[in-house]
């Protein structure tokens, strides 16, 4: 479809904005998102499906007497988009006013190098097939049978544009190449738990498929014969995927200005206070393309993103703001307004490149004084995110004994309060890992986390 280019889409968005403005509203904004994905899927250790998908959608937001209306449509038709604008206007007319609700004014921003990669856009379906064949060949060579299912290699490209009646006219292309593999080891009656490995990159040549698949296979096999410990005499954990859920989840909630202003955050009165030990620093590295899928030049409202230090050496330095919460706090937006594509207004505050800053400890140094502890991998449990209380089981748990990795474990339950954990971080690793394509974190050692064997 030749018409899908920047100029055509920005022009269409401007026409819809101008139509909304002609209907007696105070401000109008049109956001669009065009996404296209090419994907090769593996099932039953074989290439099963090739698929491609594309969608273009428009979101219309209007303000009338400080009340907001929103609607969307994926119909590429000016009349359908005008109808969506009419619905947004109708909603604004019945919605309550919100103090300080406004759209941002234009602020200059610099496009971030590296979030659109020609080497990713050059990938063809045959490249993905070749890469999938390499992964599956390693899977088939495993000494223990490994099954993979619902496991894609994907190339994704997104175009994002936003125009508003105050003069914002922003446009950006982003792309990435990802893999996500869902594997289980089974030999006779011995069945493992699922393990998931993923990668995210904008440099396809950097992917080491042998190492990636080797790690997936090893973890699947490790999870096949876990031991039920009789007891664990320890409260020491090394966070791996547990750093995302529940640790980053709790920290993210507490530092969002929406939760602060609604008094849901436990840190609502703690700005500049010490909320963690000296070794804990949290950044929003919005301008570092290595920080994953959330990195962008402008946020969901068109404000430029920023590099933000959230916690520095244990001290709470900044909350994260969108335009509305920044206006209410009389500060400048940190560029953290987030959208779920075109189907939702920018009503979330999220970090763009969340990063737990690395420390200076090697893996050996982190482990060496641990008499007994566990690797806190995938958390399967319940978290009361506002107050930090969590309890559940650790999937993929592994025992650390006398400074060495020991047996894989099952039926290990864990519980406590993440705000207490932040006061008990005893070591930060020096290597950063991008987890789930979103959070950059080193290995984190903490004590005071109650662990129980069932």
């Amino acid at each position: 479809m030749e018409q899908l280019n920047k100029e055509y889409l920005m022009d269409l968005a401007s026409k819809v904005r101008d139509y909304a403005l002609s209907k007696d509203v105070d401000a109008a904004e049109v956001y669009f998102n065009y996404s296209k994905t090419m994907e090769i899927l593996a099932e039953n250790q074989s290439i099963s499906t090739e698929r491609s998908k594309s969608e273009l959608g428009f979101a219309i937001r209007v303000l009338k007497n400080r009340a907001e209306g929103f609607s969307y449509s994926n119909k590429l038709d000016i009349d359908a988009l005008k109808s969506a604008a009419d619905e947004a206007i109708a909603v604004a007319r019945v919605s309550p006013s919100k103090d300080n609700l406004r759209f941002p004014s234009p602020t200059s921003y610099s496009s971030i190098d590296g979030i659109y990669s020609k080497s990713v856009s050059d990938l063809q379906v045959d490249d993905l097939i070749d890469n999938m064949k390499v992964v599956l060949s390693y899977i088939k060579e495993s000494k223990v049978p490994i099954r993979v299912n619902l496991s894609p290699l994907s190339v994704a490209e997104t175009w994002v544009g936003i125009v508003n009646s105050l003069g914002i006219e922003n446009f950006e292309r982003r792309n990435n190449y990802t893999g996500g593999f869902f594997a289980v080891a089974r030999e006779g009656e011995k069945i493992g738990s699922f393990v998931v490995s993923d990668f995210f990159t904008r440099d396809p040549k950097s992917v080491d498929y042998e190492a990636f698949t080797g790690d997936l296979i090893n973890r699947a096999i490790q999870n096949m014969n876990p031991i039920v410990p009789k007891s664990i005499d320890s409260d020491v954990v090394i966070f791996k995927e547990g750093a995302v859920f529940p640790l980053a989840q709790v920290v993210g909630f507490a530092t969002g200005a929406d939760n602060v202003q609604q008094e849901r955050s436990m840190w609502k009165d703690r700005l500049a206070d010490k909320v963690a030990l000296d070794n804990f620093t949290v950044l929003d590295e919005s301008h570092n393309p290595a920080r994953g899928a959330g990195v962008k030049s402008f946020d969901g409202e068109g404000n430029p993103t920023r590099q933000t230090t959230i916690i520095k050496n244990g001290y709470l330095e900044s909350f994260l703001y969108d335009e509305l919460r920044a206006a209410r706090a009389d500060v400048v937006s940190t560029g953290n307004s987030a959208r779920q594509g075109f189907m939702a207004p920018p009503n979330m505050i999220m970090p763009n490149g969340p990063t737990f800053a690395p420390g200076d400890m090697s893996e050996e140094e982190l482990f060496e004084d641990i008499k007994e502890g566990i690797i806190f991998d995938r958390f399967s449990g319940s978290t009361q995110v506002p107050n930090g209380i969590f309890s559940g089981v650790v999937k993929g748990a592994q025992l650390i004994r006398n400074g060495e990795l020991a047996e894989p474990l099952k039926n290990v339950t864990i519980g406590g309060n993440m705000f207490d954990v932040l006061q008990n971080i005893t070591g930060m690793g020096k290597e950063l890992d991008l987890v789930n394509g979103f959070l950059s974190t080193p290995l984190i050692k903490a004590k005071g986390v109650p662990i129980k064997a069932q």
């Binding site: 039953n44 290439i47 491609s52 590429l76 909603v91 919100k98 609604q262 009503n347």
Partner: protein, 468 residues
């Protein structure tokens, strides 16, 4: 331009000319509305997504393409892309996909409802939420209140070059209230209530918004002073929702044919005893609760296959799997109509519909008696499980059962964990009072799906996680 079955059949004809083996075209027009009241802010998100999804099976290999552009030219381009991808992948494929034979169907179905969800205006819906939120003033400790109303109105047409021509329309409202209370000592309680059915506007007669809000606010308030439940093995009594999540999440997923093929717990277990003989578990396309149609209503799946009831476990013995056409062929069983896609972009994968444990004969008093000393876990909050049956489910509240009597001693954050097949082999009793309700009714296996689940109250022995 009207998009109907005849329009889509032109795409089939074009695909046949290109040498497609099996060709299936799905058109979907999905209206989604999300109305949210969050601490005196109101937000409304409404909109439609339309699109084509074309799947071609050529020489045992799938090609799939979707697009939101719904012109005739785009339909033909999408068909061509799917056929080309299928032909391409066929040259690289180790295992050839086959499809189970199915009944060829021509039908149009509309889900049961009295009044269309859009018979009242957006304005009226928002005002109803504002009125319901006024309940918060009766609960001084409630600091935060969220009310969510979601509506799905879905129209689908599926045509295949085998001759199937089916279409259906459904509507599924969901209502959720979430309250956070903080007492004078700074202790927090989280209350939650949620409902979702296949139904029209009459949903709100069954579940008035103010009652849902009051339920969540009361729970949150009471839980501020509730201790955390002690961990360890215990006798527990699960309510309808907790039984539903156990049936769906911990057992049901292991009987989805794609996960069976991957080596889930139930692989190779047909005809074998897997749980206590008091347990019979079913997944049904059109199951009713006491006053409503289950939100997993699905007369035909997204491959155009008629929905069939699947008895997964019968009197403790593994009896059947849920399938799509390809896994039905692979396992040499019947296609059960469980292939589901959420949006036009999604591939149909094996999903549940309404999954439940059948009731037996015990009264509530008899269930308390067999529990003796333990806890009643009420209102499902969240849950996870894996294909081996290992699970973790959180409930909103737990009440102490002591000496066979239910007390009003309340505990917060109960989490029950273990292996579902072991837990369901340690049954103390199965109740006779049945309900189909899994709360907000959304399953997240790769893509969302509206599902329901339930059963009677079930007493069993299980591990309570965490706690102090």
């Amino acid at each position: 331009m009207t998009i109907d079955k005849d329009f889509l059949v032109k795409g089939l004809d074009y695909g046949d000319d290109l040498g497609a083996g099996y060709l299936e075209i799905r058109y979907q027009d999905k209206y989604l509305a999300n109305f949210q009241f969050k601490d005196n802010d109101i937000s409304s998100t409404t909109g439609s997504r339309v699109g084509f999804n074309v799947r071609a099976l050529v020489d045992g290999s799938w090609g799939q393409t979707s697009t939101s552009i719904t012109t005739k030219d785009s339909l033909f381009a999408t068909v061509k892309s799917a056929v080309t991808l299928a032909k391409n992948s066929a040259t690289h494929k180790d295992r050839k996909i086959k499809l189970a034979d199915v009944e060829i169907i021509e039908d149009h179905v509309v889900s049961p409802r009295v009044k269309h969800l859009n018979d009242i205006s957006v304005e009226d819906k928002l005002n109803s939420m504002i009125d319901a939120a006024k309940v918060q003033k009766d609960y001084k400790l409630v600091k935060s209140l969220i009310i969510i109303l979601n509506e799905v109105v879905d129209k689908r047409i599926i045509v295949t070059n085998e001759g199937t021509r089916v279409s259906w329309e459904d509507m599924k409202p969901t209502l959720i209230a979430y309250a956070v209370a903080i007492n004078e000592e700074g202790k927090m309680g989280v209350g939650y209530d949620s409902w979702s059915h296949t139904m029209g506007l009459e949903f709100f007669d069954l579940h008035p918004m103010d009652e849902i809000v009051r339920s969540a606010a009361e729970k949150a308030t009471k839980l501020t002073s509730a201790p955390i439940i002690p961990g360890g093995m215990s006798n527990v009594l699960l309510d309808h929702q907790m039984v539903g999540i156990l049936a769906h999440e911990a057992v049901g997923h292991t009987a989805e044919a794609d996960l069976v093929a991957m080596g889930s717990f139930t692989q190779g277990k047909l005809g074998q005893k897997v749980v206590d003989e008091k347990i019979t578990m079913i997944d049904a396309p059109l199951k009713k609760g006491s006053k409503w149609m289950g939100v997993g209503w699905l007369p035909y799946d997204d491959e155009g296959v008629r929905g069939k009831e699947v008895k997964l476990i019968e009197n403790g013995v593994m009896n059947g799997y849920m399938t799509n056409r390809s896994y039905a062929a692979e396992l040499d069983v019947e296609a059960t109509g469980n292939a589901r896609a959420y949006t036009f972009q999604d591939e149909p994968i094996v999903r549940m519909r309404n999954t439940y444990i059948e009731p037996r004969d015990m009264s509530f008093d008899e269930l308390y008696e067999v529990v003796g000393d333990g806890y009643l876990l009420k209102t499902m909050m969240n849950g996870q499980a894996d294909s081996s049956g290992e699970f973790m489910f959180g409930a909103v509240e737990a009440y102490k059962i002591r000496n066979g009597e239910l007390t009003d001693e309340l505990y917060q954050n109960p989490v029950v964990t273990g292996n579902a097949f072991e837990v369901l082999s340690n049954i103390l009793g199965v109740g006779k009072d049945f309900e189909l309700t899994i709360g907000s009714g959304t399953c997240g296996k790769e893509q969302p799906a509206k599902v329901d689940a339930g059963g009677p109250y079930v007493a069993l022995k299980a591990m309570l996680a965490g706690g102090k």
